[in-house]
C-alpha cells in the first residue's frame, strides 16, 4: 500500500464518530481536492489525511462548517475554546470555534469499585458532567474509563470518586497492563480472604443455631445473640465494607447500583436481627428469629462470585496479552560500529538493528542487509513465513526464522504496527455495540425499581401474609434486594465483545468498533472490489503454450526480450521465468513498438512478442495458436504471441489472476447465506470471466471508482445489509458508504481508515472469518442478555414470594446471594466459551498443510 504514503494527516478533528461522519467530511472536502479518493478520514485518531498542496486552513474551515471542529495538525491547540457538549452531527450546529481532539485528549482512567451496569452509567454520567468532556465511555470488562475532550485529569478523578468509585490516570496504557495484572492478582487474593472470613462466620452461625436447635432469641440466649450480632457487624464491615461505602457514595449522588442492593439487603437483615436480639419481647414469639448468618453469608458469596469473575475476566483479555507478549524487551543495536543489546525503548528511528535467526523483530524497519524468511502469523494470521530481502519492511513482534539481517528502524515505541494493533484491539474491545447500550439504559432505572418492588412485597407480606408477618416481610424484601443485582446484565455485552474482538484479531481481522462487530453478523450482501481484492492486483502469467511443447524455450525467448522492458506485463513474464528456473535468452537490439509489443534479435533472427494484430501485420501466421488464445481471452487474460523469425513459437497468457483462495472464501460466504457481488472498472468480458472463476453471483463492470459508493448505497436502499470489501484508500468512499467496510490490508498496514474492519491479510477468507466470529459473538451476547434477563424476571417474583401461595416456598436470602453470584459467573463463563470458537476454515491449520 504505497499509496498511503502520499496522504498525510493534515487536520485534527473532533466529533466524528461513525461512517456517516466520514461521509459528511469527505463530501465537504471533495470540492477542495476534486476527488473523494484523495481524502481519508481516520475515526480512531480523529484526523483527516489530505494530499499535498491543499490549503489546510481552508480545509479546516470547511470541515468545521460541516459540524466537526477541525484544525491543522501542526497548529497549536486552542485551549480556550472548549466545547461543553457533544458536537451535534445531524444539525451541524457547531459554531466556528476550533478545538483539538487528538490522541492526547483522550484520558484513560483505571476505575475501581465498578461492578454492574448501573455503575457504568453512573461513571459515564459523572465524567460527562465535567466541563470540557465531550464523551465518556466506561468498560466494565477491564474496568477502564476513557474520557474525550479537554479537562484536567484530576477533575475527572474527583468526579468519579464523588460518584462512589476509585480512579487513577493510566499514563501509559501499554505499561498499565502489567500493573493491572498484578493488581488483579492482589485483589483476587484479598477477595478470597474476605470470602473465607465472612462465609466462615456465616457457616459457624448456622452450625451454632442448629447446635442449639434454633435461631430464635430466648431469654437464655439473648446476650449470646447480641454479642454474635456485634461480631457479625464487625465482619460485615471488614469483609463487605466496600459495598457500604460504595452504596453511600452512590446514594449521596442520587444514584443506586449493585452496592446499594447488597448494602440494603444485608443491612436490613442485620438491623432486623439486632432489633430482635435486643428487644425480643416487643415482637410476637414466632418472629424472634435472627438472620445474622444471612448477612455474613451473602457478603461471603458475593465476594466469592467477584473473585471467580475476576479470574474469568482475566482470561477474556488473553488475545491482547498474547499481542503484548510479542513485544521484544531488548534490541541488538549497531551504533558506531559496535553491537550492543539495548532496552527496546531506547531504540531510535534510524538505528541499525541486527536480528539473528530465531529472534523476534524488536521495532518496525526496513532491511538494509541480508535476507530471511519472517513468520508474521502472529500479526496477520498468514501461516507461511514471508521471504524478506533488502528494502523489505519488517514489523515488530514478527519472528525471524532463517537468516541474520540488519535493518534500519523506521517506527519505534507506540508507532510500531504492533503497538497500533494492540491499541486498536483494546479500543474495540472496550467499545459497546448498540445492543449493549440498551442494556445500560435498562439498568440505570433498574436498581431504584427493585427497591420499590422490595418495599411493595414487604407491604404485601405484612398485610396479607401469614404469621409471623414481620419475619416474612423482612425475608421477602431482603431476598428481592439481593437477587436483583444487575451485575449479569452489565457484564453480558462487554465480556462477549472483548472475547469476540480478540478472536477476530487472532484471525487477522481488526475490528474498529463494537458496532461493526454487531453489524457484520447481520450482513447479507458482500460487495467485492476486483483488483487486489479478488485478484492478486498485478498481472501474472497464467498460460504458457508452445507450438512444439517446449515451454522453456518460449519462456527463454520471451524473458530474453522482456528483461529490457519495464512494462508490468514484462515483469509478470520475468517472474514466471524466475519461478521456473529459466534464464533469459541473449536478445539484442531490443525495441518497444508502442501499443503493439516488443522486438529484438537472437542469432540474427528477429524475435517478436506482442498482440495478434501486430504479428499478423508482420506476415506471421497465428492460426495454429487460435484455440489457446481464445481460452486465454475467455479466462480474462491477454494473449501475447511470440514469433522467432517468421514462425510462431507460442502464446503466453497474462492476467490479473484470482488469488489462490478467493473462490474458496466466496464459497464460504455463500455457505453463510450471503450474496456476493463484484464491482470493477474492467470491461464486461474480463469481469464476467473473473466472476465465473470466483463463483460470484453478480457483477457490475466498467464502474468508475467514484460510482462504487453509489452502487453500495443503491444496494442498501434495496434493503440489503451491505459489506464493501476493498482497498483502504481507493475504495474509501465505498467502504464508508457500506454498513460495514472491510479494508483489505497487506501485511501489517493497520493505518487503514474508513473501514470498520481491517484485514491484515490479503485473503478474502478474512471476510468470512470476521462474519462468522461476529455472528458467534452476537449470538453469545444474546445468550448472555437473555440469561441475565430471565434470571432477573424469574428471580425477583420468586424472591418476593410469588410461589408461596401455591407451594409454600419462600426463598432464603442466602440462596438469593448464591444465585446472584452464580448469574454473573455464568455470564462471564459463557463469554469465555467464545474463546474456543473456530471459524469454518481454520486458517492456520489449512495454511500449514
Amino acid at each position: 500500500m504505497n499509496d498511503h504514503t502520499e496522504l498525510q494527516p493534515a487536520l485534527s478533528i473532533s466529533g466524528a464518530s461513525c461512517q456517516g461522519c466520514v461521509r459528511n467530511i469527505t463530501r465537504a472536502l471533495e470540492s477542495l481536492t476534486g476527488s473523494a479518493e484523495l481524502i481519508s478520514v481516520d475515526l480512531e485518531s480523529q484526523t483527516v489525511a489530505l494530499p499535498d498542496g491543499i490549503n489546510i486552513d481552508e480545509a479546516a474551515r470547511i470541515v468545521t462548517g460541516a459540524g466537526y471542529p477541525a484544525m491543522a495538525v501542526d497548529a497549536p491547540p486552542d485551549n480556550g475554546s472548549v466545547s461543553d457538549n457533544d458536537p451535534d452531527h445531524d444539525t451541524g450546529s457547531q459554531s466556528g470555534r476550533t478545538e483539538v481532539t487528538a490522541d492526547g485528549d483522550e484520558v484513560h482512567l483505571a476505575v475501581t469499585g465498578a461492578t454492574c451496569a448501573s455503575c457504568v452509567n453512573t461513571i459515564e454520567k459523572a465524567l460527562k458532567s465535567v466541563n470540557g468532556i465531550t464523551g465518556a465511555h466506561m468498560n466494565l470488562a477491564d474496568n477502564t474509563a476513557t474520557a474525550t475532550g479537554q479537562a484536567n485529569s484530576q477533575a475527572l478523578i474527583r468526579a468519579i470518586e464523588s460518584a462512589g468509585y476509585g480512579a487513577s490516570v493510566i499514563e501509559d496504557p501499554d505499561a498499565a497492563d502489567d500493573q493491572k495484572q498484578e493488581d488483579d492478582r492482589k485483589r483476587y487474593r484479598d477477595l478470597l480472604v474476605k470470602m473465607t472470613v465472612s462465609l466462615g462466620l456465616g457457616i459457624g452461625l448456622m452450625v451454632y443455631g442448629m447446635g442449639f436447635g434454633t435461631m430464635m432469641v430466648t431469654e437464655a440466649n439473648q446476650w449470646t445473640w447480641i454479642n454474635l450480632g456485634v461480631l457479625t457487624l464487625a465482619v460485615m464491615a471488614t469483609t463487605g465494607g466496600h459495598f457500604y461505602i460504595g452504596a453511600w457514595k452512590a446514594f449521596r449522588h442520587h444514584n443506586a447500583n449493585m452496592d446499594t442492593l447488597i448494602a440494603l439487603g444485608t443491612g436490613t437483615a442485620w438491623l432486623y436481627s439486632i432489633a430482635v436480639a435486643t428487644m425480643p419481647f416487643a415482637l410476637p414469639e414466632m418472629a424472634r428469629h435472627v438472620y445474622f448468618e444471612a448477612s455474613a453469608m451473602i457478603i461471603g458469596l458475593i465476594n466469592l462470585g467477584q473473585a471467580l469473575e475476576l479470574r474469568a475476566k482475566g482470561k477474556t483479555s488473553e488475545a491482547v496479552r498474547r499481542l503484548l507478549d510479542l513485544r521484544a524487551k531488548t534490541a541488538r543495536v549497531i551504533r558506531d560500529g559496535a553491537e550492543q543489546d539495548l532496552p527496546v525503548d531506547q531504540v531510535r528511528v534510524g538505528d541499525q538493528i541486527r536480528v539473528r535467526p530465531g529472534e523476534s523483530v524488536p521495532v518496525d524497519g526496513q532491511i538494509s542487509e541480508g535476507s530471511t524468511r519472517v513468520d508474521e502469523s502472529m500479526l496477520t494470521g498468514e501461516p507461511m513465513p514471508v521471504r524478506k530481502g533488502e528494502g523489505d519492511e519488517v514489523s515488530a513482534g514478527t519472528l525471524n526464522t532463517r537468516g541474520s539481517i540488519i535493518y534500519t528502524a523506521t517506527r519505534v515505541g507506540r508507532d510500531t504496527a504492533l503497538a497500533q494493533i494492540i491499541r486498536l484491539v483494546k479500543k474495540a474491545q472496550g467499545s459497546k455495540p448498540a445492543i449493549g447500550r440498551l442494556a445500560d439504559r435498562i439498568s440505570s432505572v433498574f436498581v431504584p425499581t427493585v427497591m420499590l418492588i422490595a418495599v411493595v412485597s414487604a407491604l404485601v407480606w405484612y398485610n396479607v401474609g401469614p404469621e409471623p408477618a414481620v419475619v416474612h416481610m423482612m425475608v421477602a424484601a431482603t431476598t428481592v434486594l439481593i437477587i436483583a443485582c444487575p451485575c449479569a446484565l452489565g457484564l453480558a455485552t462487554p465480556m462477549s465483545v472483548m472475547v469476540g474482538v480478540g478472536k477476530a484479531a487472532e484471525y487477522g481481522a481488526l475490528i474498529r468498533q463494537g458496532d461493526a462487530l454487531q453489524t457484520a453478523g447481520k450482513l447479507d450482501l458482500v460487495i467485492l472490489d476486483k483488483t487486489g481484492t479478488i485478484t492478486e492486483g498485478h498481472p501474472a502469467v497464467t498460460h504458457l503454450y508452445a507450438s512444439d511443447d517446449d515451454t522453456d524455450k518460449l519462456l527463454t525467448l520471451a524473458a530474453g526480450l522482456e528483461q529490457h522492458s519495464e512494462h508490468p506485463l514484462a515483469e509478470a513474464i520475468m517472474v514466471k521465468a524466475k519461478e521456473q528456473g529459466v534464464s533469459p535468452g541473449k536478445v539484442t537490439g531490443f525495441e518497444t513498438i508502442n501499443g503493439k509489443g516488443v522486438r529484438g534479435e537472437l542469432e540474427n533472427q528477429p524475435v517478436r512478442l506482442g498482440n495478434r494484430k501486430w504479428l499478423e501485420s508482420e506476415g506471421i501466421d497465428l492460426a495454429g495458436l487460435q484455440e489457446e488464445a481464445d481460452t486465454i481471452t475467455s479466462d480474462a487474460g491477454t494473449p501475447l504471441f511470440l514469433a522467432l523469425g517468421d514462425k510462431p513459437v507460442g502464446v503466453i497468457g497474462v492476467a490479473d489472476a484470482l488469488k489462490q483462495d478467493s473462490a474458496a472464501a466466496i464459497r464460504r460466504l455463500h455457505d453463510a447465506g450471503i450474496r456476493v457481488m463484484m464491482v470493477t472498472g474492467d470491461v464486461d468480458a474480463t469481469a464476467s470471466a473473473i466472476a465465473r472463476q470466483a463463483g460470484i453471483d453478480d457483477y457490475r463492470a466498467e464502474v468508475l471508482p467514484e460510482e462504487k459508493s453509489t452502487i453500495v448505497s443503491a444496494m442498501r436502499g434495496k434493503g440489503y445489509t451491505v459489506a464493501m470489501v476493498g482497498d483502504g484508500i481507493n475504495d474509501a468512499p465505498a467502504l464508508a458508504a457500506a454498513d460495514v467496510g472491510f479494508a483489505i490490508g497487506t501485511g501489517t498496514d493497520v493505518a487503514i481508515e474508513s473501514a470498520g474492519i481491517t484485514l491484515m491479510r490479503g485473503s478474502l477468507h478474512g471476510v468470512a472469518d470476521a462474519i462468522e466470529i461476529s455472528r458467534a459473538t452476537v449470538r453469545n451476547i444474546h445468550q448472555n442478555l437473555f440469561g441475565a434477563f430471565v434470571y432477573n424476571t424469574l428471580g425477583i417474583p420468586v424472591a418476593a414470594g410469588l410461589l408461596y401461595p401455591f407451594w409454600g416456598i419462600l426463598m432464603s436470602p442466602i440462596l438469593a446471594g448464591a444465585a446472584m453470584s452464580l448469574s454473573s459467573v455464568t455470564v462471564v463463563t459463557n463469554a469465555n466459551r467464545l474463546r474456543l470458537f473456530s471459524t469454518s476454515r481454520n486458517t492456520r491449520e489449512e495454511g500449514n498443510q
Binding site: C18, S129, H254, R437, V455
Partner: protein
C-alpha cells in the same frame, strides 16, 4: 395502629425512593449529556 404505621411508612419510603432517584434536581445532567450514537 401498628399496621397503619407500617403501611404509611412503606408508602413514604416508596415516595422517597421515587423522589430521590428520579425527581430530585441533581439528576438533570443526563438529559443534555446523554448523547447516544445516531445510528
Amino acid at each position: 395502629m401498628s399496621a397503619l404505621l407500617v403501611n404509611a411508612g412503606g408508602l413514604m419510603l416508596m415516595a422517597a425512593i421515587v423522589w430521590w432517584f428520579w425527581l430530585s434536581p441533581s439528576n438533570d445532567t443526563e438529559s443534555n449529556q446523554n448523547h447516544s450514537h445516531h445510528h
